[in-house]
Symmetry: C2
Subunit: 503 residues, 2 copies
């Protein structure tokens, strides 16, 4: 197995792996590649603006040539990239600053470098990066990737003044603007929903212009890095933590390494698994570490994870953006969590809305987001989409005229994407059951709304009949009384029925 005596064994770099399997990272063909390039650049820009604590202004332009070659430019007012990091950040696959224990859009250090790689192999052009940090005046670089060695080739770097802090990236690639146009627009439109404080513009071939987002001026608080939850303690994690401070005693090691593990909990836990709290972590052999890790993963008395590392959109922001973008009536909001999957904290939130802008169907139209990023491809394979079909929506009496839509947002320090292209979320069983509960909660809100509507309709009919009778009575009384002007009954009726002018 694994080859022959004559076999030609060798290793390949991660750049080579993704060069050979670019469909896994969302670079399947010119249509998808153009979309993915926009997406990766915009996500990076938004992450950077978040870090800079500014209202993001992201400008996207796409220039197409002969329908085959496109130049994508994305400009932001984020932190800028420090000079020493530019080559690797754009020319080395699996390099980045996204390996933190808090919610971020980018996660792999893969997306932008894959866009650079695809541009380079399809059009032979380098990526051009113009960036300025708070520490410098601005520089422009052009960067290729040496795919075999996974290292950057800086073709040129020159000082080039830039007025404001931030970064502009230009990538020229084989792209099919005609076919990916709709997706790009939809993606940015939905990004404006999930990042409503960002103002995003799109310019296509200098002829079409769009603006998205900008629904609020409130910058959400920055999620903070958090200690791992004890349920995330696989043996690799335990080993690494132990190697950092081998002299710590077991009790201190646990308290200092994990969240939801204070002194009392540590004492109880160690007592429960019969391990000596005074043993140093460095003295444990692989077997003992393995026992400790397994016990941490299984022990069910740790608290739920802290949510400070997460940044859900929130009811008010979500409502506001959906109302404005889709001219929708928002029916309800639900949130589940913070919970954990394999020890990684997560929150799911959802909004149910009705609008003529949504297509009518037996099941609600689904908009999916993960860490504030809209997911547009591979919906059949996604846990939110699969779960949606398991709900008996007819039972919740959706309205017969407007379309119903659900906006779902999964946020976590680790999103279980099914592939590196980040298009769909795997069906982890604990997550699936939370999504089911979320849908049911939203369904019940829909039912309450629909029944309210029905009652209102019924009341309105009764009211009409009463009005007619009251008016007749008034008229008759006037005649009997010999009064000329018939009294106005409407105020009385309104008071009787407590009419709400909005119904």
């Amino acid at each position: 197995m694994t080859g022959s005596a004559s076999g030609n064994f060798r290793g390949i770099s991660p750049a080579e792996f993704f060069y050979r399997n670019r469909q896994m990272a969302g670079f399947e063909n010119p249509t998808q590649s153009l979309y993915t390039t926009v997406r990766e650049l915009v996500e990076n820009s938004l992450d950077s603006c978040e870090e800079a604590r500014v209202l993001p202004t992201v400008d996207v332009t796409i220039q197409s040539e002969l329908g085959r070659t496109c130049t994508v430019s994305v400009s932001d007012n984020g932190t800028g990239v420090p000079d020493e990091n530019v080559p690797n950040a754009f020319g080395k696959v699996l390099y980045g600053n996204k390996y933190s224990s808090r919610q971020r859009r980018g996660t792999f250090g893969l997306g932008v470098t894959m866009a650079v790689l695809y541009g380079q192999i399809s059009t032979g052009t380098p990526a051009v990066i113009h960036t300025k940090t708070a520490q410098n005046e601005g520089n422009e670089y052009s960067v290729y990737i040496d795919i075999e060695s996974n290292s950057p080739i800086v073709k040129s770097s020159n000082p080039l003044k830039r007025k404001e802090r931030g970064t502009t990236v230009h990538i020229t690639l084989n792209g099919d603007l005609k076919r990916s146009r709709e997706r790009v627009i939809e993606y940015l439109r939905l990004t404006g929903i999930s990042t409503p404080h960002a103002r995003i513009t799109l310019s296509l071939d200098d002829t079409e212009r769009y603006t998205f987002g900008g629904f609020t001026k409130k910058i959400p608080s920055l999620p903070v890095d958090s200690l791992p939850h004890p349920h995330a303690a696989d043996l690799e994690l335990i080993r690494r933590l132990a190697a950092k401070n081998p002299d710590l005693r077991l009790h201190e090691f646990l308290v200092g390494s994990f969240q939801q593990l204070g002194h009392k909990t540590a004492e109880k836990f160690l007592n429960f698994i019969r391990m000596d709290p005074r043993a140093t972590i460095g003295s444990l052999d692989r077997e003992a570490l393995s026992y400790l890790g397994n016990s941490l993963r299984k022990y069910d008395k740790f608290g739920k994870p802290s949510a400070t590392c997460l940044s859900p959109v929130g009811k008010e922001s979500f409502f506001n953006a959906i109302r404005k973008e889709f001219n929708a009536t928002v029916i309800g909001y639900s949130q589940r969590g913070p919970l954990e999957w394999d020890g990684f904290p997560y929150i799911v939130e959802g909004v149910l809305a009705i609008s003529d802008a949504f297509e009518q169907s037996d099941i609600p139209h689904l908009f999916r987001f993960a860490n504030r990023v809209p997911l547009l491809y591979d919906s059949t394979d996604d846990v939110f989409a699969k779960t949606l079909k398991r709900i008996p929506w007819a039972r919740y009496k959706p309205p017969e005229i407007s379309g119903v839509a659900i906006f779902t947002h999964f946020c976590s320090i680790r999103v279980p994407y099914s592939a590196a292209g980040k298009q769909s979320i795997t069906s982890v069983s604990s997550i699936t059951s939370e999504i089911l509960s979320l849908y049911r909660e939203l369904g019940r809100k829909l039912k309450v709304f629909s029944e309210g509507k029905k009652r209102a309709l019924h009341s309105r009919r009764k009211l009409k009949e009463f009005s007619r009778l009251f008016n007749l009575l008034a008229k008759f009384s006037s005649e009997v009384a010999g009064v000329d002007n018939i009294p106005d009954t409407s105020r009385m009726i309104n008071e009787l029925f407590e009419v709400d002018s909005d119904v």
Copy 2:
């Protein structure tokens, strides 16, 4: 973008990437991980046996403990792994001997190392490898992976005699045998269909035993490495080929580097794109190389790719295995190709069969294979499954009693898997249209068969009626003739109706 002035930039190893995103490689949970481990080990074994030109004997055993921990052992009679390659082959992600230009089961140098990694992080145990090549007497190793640096840690290596050439691998991991039992059995059963010359045994907890395959003793010819097709000439490929022999003149460079590019074609092509055939390839700048590559990709007069790098199952072997395994009636076989997607040669083949063993449904039950490997997960997202729904099967008059199944096999030097877990094939548009044609061909064969059945039924009724009349006539004639024994008419009737005893 891409981080901040204060950002914590760093690179991670591919082992770290897949450790963090193991669901992408098929290690989502204990159920799937057990299945993937068996699968990756068996695929490697079969690839190795193919290389050794022997009838594969692959023995799989799974021992479970307390329903949580499983030890998977897979033993083969392949080439064995050379000593110097054992550490990297099992302890380094993206290392292997699978990077060839011909059809293989394994492709990434990822699967087995991911199984080792998962075993290590879930149970703390190393992989144990016992292997013997033609050059040695046998050695046993136990291997971990240093995930942060993506390098092997050999915990022990000892001489251990082994009678026959081959390899046995033991991996202990968190696995759920109860829940993955069915999948494992199904996977091995189908492997016996697509590799009918292999004999595979499965032993579960020493209580259940199964045997699969072994339907033929004919070893298929080994696919051979082939030159790339000119349509695969992205700029990276061109650059690498050019760097190998920079002094070659353009004409010789093309003829020597690509298949379907002989002297005459090279001349015509270079004339068409107006490049000087006498220029040396090394003298071309990036722009000229880019022009050359784009022209190669677009030129539509190159021949179809050679099929020598591919190994389809073939009509006879497929028929034979399906008949025996499912007690099925095979209705038809179709093959499309060799064709190319992005320049990579491929063949699709399919068998339509009916059997009571297949569930009855509006559309045929689908069995998918890629490079002789059964694909069991993620069927909704797969190009074969998606395309199947686009065919109006009712039109082809499937039988009303038995179930119908289609066995499809995609073989290529590069399978466009949608994720590293190799469970589904992406919808590349050129492939999609070939699959549609394949299904239609099979559909027409089904229709011919069903109509033949109908005609046969009709004939049988006619035959019955004739028999009755003939017998009456014979009886009457005998009476008229005053003969006592009535002559037997059956032979005459059979001759008249050309009755086939099988109908």
